[in-house]
Subunit: 841 residues, 2 copies
């Protein structure tokens, strides 16, 4: 098992070495078996504890391994020793299997009572080649061929682009991108066609420095990533992640630019926006109904002038355009990713890689509905609800305060603290949910590692998605919609009114909520946690290990620390799931509610520029080098991304239609306005309420001008007090609602249609790649045919010479010659079958 | 070129022959070269005309070919002769190429002044094998292996199913479906592993009878199709069509059953339907406003009782359920087709088949917008509009009639004639559009045959789709919506009011329109045209050919008609496009408007049961045997089907929400009704109109009770005459509209979500197939390894014997032995590479 894994991780490096001539660096210490040229390809580490130390029951960190033959010890074994003994036997059997599989191992002598011991493994060339053959790893052949270049204007443009982006290219040894060596599934037979040298695995670590200099430093944040190098060092799976992250970050650039323009459009048009002007105009004395019972006074709408102006920044017609743009952007991104993936799998020779089919979806669906997940989601909702209650009660409590300044700052205080509480809850639950998802998947016992990973991802994603977005969904679609109306408010608990949105509209609050959660999550979780926690862990490990073993280590091994000792102190690699998860949740922030916060892509971009280097640094310096895993695509993440893309269409449609004031404004301008302008819009959206209809005990207590007020206004479309159906929803309410819903239908179907169109218009496989795949096949066939032909000619000449010398051949000899001819033909045939098979791949 | 095509069509037959032991039928006359055992594999036919007949300028049917050497004739050549001469030269060059490619040809002597001549082609085994190798056609190996069977209950169920469906199975020689021979890309080298006999191509035609008996007769309509046999005889492309048609027909069975139940539900609940009861109740004297100006009188709603009751059959809550069912049905169908396609391509060994990628969509999109298509669509719309005008004017004209019976039948007469006109226009335009699409595609000059076909299909589909559905869309979404209101009608031309729907609602009219067009189109176009026209054409050809050539033919060839003479009289095969098109348009009828006509699947099913055998008969008896074409899937048709499936969701949502009365009823019951029942619904949907507000000159002229009437009623939600905003849309109007739109959003998103879920839950590749593909690969590798191993052992024994005899070998001999060893190893290697390659396919 380990043999396979191990060879998979190293064979690529070895094979690629010859195209990547770094030279052998034999002087690196601690990379080889003692006094030998055999390189350490893999290290296994374990703690041992000798029987001698059996009676020191107090220490619990070391493990015990009896060195004496088993039989002699049976009587003395305690329960702990039995466990130790079993472990030792397992290790022995395992190492025996490794040796049987052809691997060479070197063990440290266990000459102390307890300690850390390493098993170093070297894979001889025979093992590597056998495994490469078994795993059909493609290797480059001697044959190189030119990659077709575009001619004419495209070529010119390409050259200009190359020149412009030159400073952005990482300074790594450039492979000749114009040439590609033909690769072919590894076979020992075909070895002499290749450039594989015998001492190729003498140098691996120089890459570490190179990767650090040109990739894993913040200083090179503006450069493209050396993806090919990353893939060579870490394998395809991690290579694909960074390629994906790179593409995503690149795609964020245009959306950030457009987002900034949309924001600027809001800034520029703010002065000409009639509704916010009307709201700010002191002459329009809209006396609003009190925001809470008893303690709140009537208030003038012009006091909400600032928020009205601010909300115009995000709530303007350009936002609608931006939502459509972002929906198409998401589609384009996914399409481009498909193409890039195809391109990479061509250049990385993954085209023939087989992957398990995913057919356990029906199971997942069933499992997803299980009790645990429901419980978790309920926990999330109750957290969100808790914050709502906090807001309602705090707002009410603070309104008792007689201090004028406190009261005016109520809204700000409450909103800010509530969002921060939300954020903290999200961060804590996120960590819990990650663990819960893992535990849930473990108790399900999936059949394969891949199945396990996919299930874990789906569970974790569902939980984290709900966790991150529940408060945002609440603000976008529920807050302020169940308030009731003056004189008939909806109360939760005893006497607490449901909370309303700020007078600027819920969109402004949504925007604040979104930006704080997004920025906070990125800053705290991604950067603080990701940088800080591994550092802390490392420190903690060092301290702990140092305390217990330093004295013993000092005696022999650690006087010149070997590479395996250094690597041992790093954190183990635990998979890409957290990295992807983080980015996918961010992708959600960028697409799902983009209608309310056009600057989201910009913030995501800024975060990602750091994120790329942060992840890089982590992989290069903080983690043990992971086993390379081959992968053809990003798996389930693609489905999740595409699901988010689809969800974003309907959510944005609702945000524009329901949360923003876009539709009521349009309706007013084209249906109700007297002169086709927006003048009078604010008045139109406010309904009248007869203050005498306020329930007893809910009137403002200390209002200085309660006597002068007959009617107060509130934001809703309801019949005025003088209508026969007073306070019922007015005709305008239903008309506006119809328009909102019609907009949702129109928007959703338009965007879906455009997405399908984009999907169709961009072929999944780039044309140049599909042409090159075809060409490569035919070149490969020609190449093999020629080689075989030459070989056959050589053999034929032997036979002819043979015949000349032994003209008087016996019958036996003639039959041998005949069999030779048959053999020749068979050889030809196998070449032909070669060609036929290969073109099928 | 032809060589390739030809071999592709025949190689499969030849290879499969051995698994399909029909025995050689050498006695069939006209199947071989004269006096030879060489079979006629392909026939080219042409008309020739000798120079001798040059001066008979009057006849224009024959073609002229000079037999004398060209040089001698130059002076005498007329313009027609030059053309003939060129054709002859082309033919000669072509035949020369055929011979050069290794084919053997036999030509009739052109011994008459003019006539029909045949070039018969025989493909020797060498050519077949070379081409098979080039095209990587898979052939079965000696190795057979058992296909994994389900165990336990599944097996039992399967057995019961087999027993139940036994009478439905066609009585064709059953291949052993439990065993599958391993197949492998053809290679001459591997020939001796196979069962291929040398005289296999002695029998091909017996299949014709078998196919007719068990497939192409109406008598076997209840049986499954012998798909494997069809594929063997006609090739994969036609095989896939019939497999698709079969699956579609099978899928129509459950939907027909559910459709019947929905219809029955309507029939059963008709007596308990309060709104239609209220309408029929004579006591509820709803005096309705006149349906036309001047000549129409006020009328009582109860006179529309019959249509109201009829429309309940289709407009009831079960229809909503049925729409959702059908949307999921469409998704399920597409998923199952993907699986069946996968299964077929496994059993037909198409898994490695390469197909061109489609990357010209961007072009198509551009081209689709071109002027021609737009013109055609405008033509369609104008035809629809013409019919509308016809209806309006005829209705008006007929209403002048004083005959009481005529007037009462006006609506029926007008509707019936209008729909029939619609149908005729559709049928005529359909034929024109087919030709136009072809012409348009030809002037575009696409690069490949496949590109040509796909473009043609897209164009033709777009035109035919618009043509078939335009009148239905009109009735569903536009008719009766722009009528205006009493006193303020919308007029087209001079004094003609826009037409209204019948009092039972537009759904009833939609239903009539849909059923007549669907049934009429199927009956006339599919059955009449498809059976009649080929027969007529055949008759016409026979008559024509007979007239001009019979006398000459009689002299030598036709005294014993050869097979090539008989086949020549059949129609050539022109592709599957019309067959698919017909079915896809039908699929549209079944899914797009199924909410208005739940019996559509039933009618489609009845049609298809005939259609399968009709198409079969056509292919077996009416058409020349088509060149077989390999295909892995049904190509662009799948995309079109999936597009229709998506479109059907939104269309059905709108039909239920806008065309039917479902939402108003729900709204009334839960929002407006006094007691939660439907009592009073009819009254609620009718607005009041003050007859004194009728414009002068539009009042009914000869109304007997005009004096007694103050208010008349009309179907709309408008303010009553006594309201301050008289005749404006009422609050109910907007509320109902909101509900309708909300329903659309809900329905669309729910169904889309469920479709995605179904899509996810059903894996694209059936699990047993994916397992078998894996198993097959490993078995194949084992098989080849074993064979090669045995061969190697044989050769090694030769070498050992050689060494013993020539112990005192020269240096040369030793080097030869070394090269031999190297060779051995290379042989092993190629086997290994074999395995690695094959598992990649």
């Amino acid at each position: 098992e380990i043999c396979k894994e191990y060879v998979q991780s190293h064979i690529l490096l070895i094979i690629d070495e010859n195209t990547y001539q770094l030279g052998a660096v034999d002087s690196v210490s601690g990379m080889h078996f003692r006094g030998s040229k055999r390189k350490v390809d893999y290290v296994l580490a374990y703690h041992y504890r000798k029987r001698l130390a059996q009676h020191q029951q107090g220490t619990n960190s070391g493990q015990h391994i009896p060195q004496e033959p088993l039989g002699a010890q049976v009587i003395e074994l305690g329960p702990l020793d039995a466990l130790e003994e079993e472990k030792r036997l397992q290790r022995e059997e395992y190492e025996h299997n490794l040796v049987a599989a052809g691997l060479e191992i070197e063990k440290d002598a266990e000459n102390k009572s307890q300690g850390l011991s390493f098993v170093r493994i070297h894979a001889p060339w025979q093992v590597l080649s056998r495994e490469a053959e078994l795993h059909k790893i493609k290797m480059p052949t001697k044959k190189m061929y030119a990659i077709k270049e575009e001619g004419g204007i495209l070529k010119k443009l390409n050259e200009i682009w190359c020149k412009l982006t030159e400073p952005l290219q990482p300074q790594v040894p450039q492979e000749n991108t114009k040439m590609k060596s033909l690769s072919y599934p590894f076979s020992r037979e075909k070895m002499y066609f290749t450039l594989i040298a015998n001492n190729v695995y003498d140098a691996a670590y120089p890459l570490h420095d190179l990767l650090y200099q040109e990739w894993a430093r913040y200083g090179v944040f503006y450069k493209f990533q050396p993806i090919d190098l990353i893939r060579k060092y870490f394998g395809e799976k991690i290579g694909l992640y960074f390629a994906w992250l790179g593409l995503y970050t690149e795609f964020l650039i245009p959306s950030s630019v457009v987002g900034i323009f949309v924001f600027l459009y809001g800034c520029i048009t703010i002065e000409s926006d009639i509704p916010s002007k009307e709201m700010c105009d002191q002459r329009n004395a809209f006396t609003m109904c009190p925001l809470c019972d008893k303690f709140c006074d009537y208030w003038n709408l012009s006091s909400a002038c600032a928020t009205a102006r601010a909300s115009h920044l995000f709530d303007n017609p350009a936002t609608v355009f931006f939502s459509i743009f972002m929906a198409l952007w998401a589609t384009m991104f996914l399409e481009q990713w498909k193409r890039l993936q195809m391109r990479l799998s061509y250049f990385w020779d993954l085209t023939g890689l087989e992957e398990e089919e995913v057919s356990f979806f029906s199971l997942i669906i069933l499992k997803l509905t299980n009790l645990y997940i429901s419980l978790q989601i309920m926990l999330t909702f109750s957290a969100v609800f808790g914050v709502i209650v906090y807001r309602i009660t705090t707002a009410a409590a603070l309104s008792f305060s007689t201090n004028e300044t406190t009261r005016s700052n109520i809204r700000v205080t409450v909103t800010a603290t509530a969002v921060i509480i939300n954020l903290i809850v999200i961060l804590i639950l996120d960590e819990i949910y990650g663990a819960v998802a893992k535990w849930l998947t473990e108790i399900e016992v999936p059949k394969t590692e891949k199945a396990f990973e996919e299930r874990l991802i789906l569970k974790a994603f569902l939980l984290k998605f709900v966790n991150s977005y529940a408060p945002i969904f609440y603000v976008a679609f529920f807050k302020g919609r169940f308030v009731g109306r003056p004189g008939h408010y909806v109360y939760v608990f005893d006497g607490y009114r449901m909370e309303e949105c700020a007078p600027g509209g819920c969109l402004m609050e949504l925007c604040i909520q979104l930006s704080i959660i997004m920025l906070g999550k990125q800053l705290i979780q991604n950067n603080l946690f990701e940088i800080g926690i591994p550092k802390l862990k490392k420190l903690f490990r060092k301290l702990k290990d140092g305390r217990t073993e330093l004295k013993e280590m000092n005696t022999n091994q650690s006087k010149d620390p070997q590479q395996w000792d250094l690597d041992y102190s790093l954190e183990p690699f635990t998979g890409l799931t957290p990295e992807y998860m983080e980015m996918i949740i961010q992708f959600g922030f960028v697409t799902l509610f983009v209608a309310s916060f056009p600057l989201a892509p910009l913030f995501a971009l800024l975060n990602n520029i750091i994120e790329v280097r942060l992840d890089a640094k982590k992989f290069v310096t903080e983690l043990r080098r992971p086993d390379t895993v081959r992968a053809k695509d990003i798996g389930i993440w693609y489905n999740i991304l595409s699901g988010i893309g689809k969800l974003s269409v309907i959510i944005n449609a609702f945000v524009i239609a329901v949360t923003s004031d876009f539709i009521p404004r349009l309706m007013y301008q084209y249906a109700y306005s007297q002169n086709g302008t927006m003048h009078g819009f604010v008045n139109h959206t406010l309904s009248y309420f007869n203050v005498s209809h306020l329930k007893a005990g809910t009137q403002p207590e200390n209002s200085p001008f309660a006597q002068d007020i007959l009617f107060c206004r509130f934001k809703d479309y309801r019949e005025p007090p003088w209508s026969p159906n007073q306070y019922e929803f007015s005709k305008q309410y239903w008309a506006v609602l119809s328009a909102r819903l019609a907009f949702v239908i129109l928007f959703q179907n338009l965007v879906m249609f455009l997405s399908v169109l984009v999907d169709w218009m961009i072929p999944d496989i780039p044309k140049d790649i599909s042409e090159q795949i075809k060409k490569e096949k035919s070149v490969l066939v020609d190449f093999f045919l020629k080689e075989e032909h030459e070989k056959l000619k050589l053999i034929e000449s032997f036979i002819t010479r043979d015949k000349h010398k032994h003209k008087s051949g016996t019958k036996d000899q003639r039959s041998r010659a005949a069999s030779f001819c048959q053999f020749n033909q068979s050889q030809k045939g196998s070449v032909a079958s070669f060609s036929s098979q290969h073109t099928e791949v």
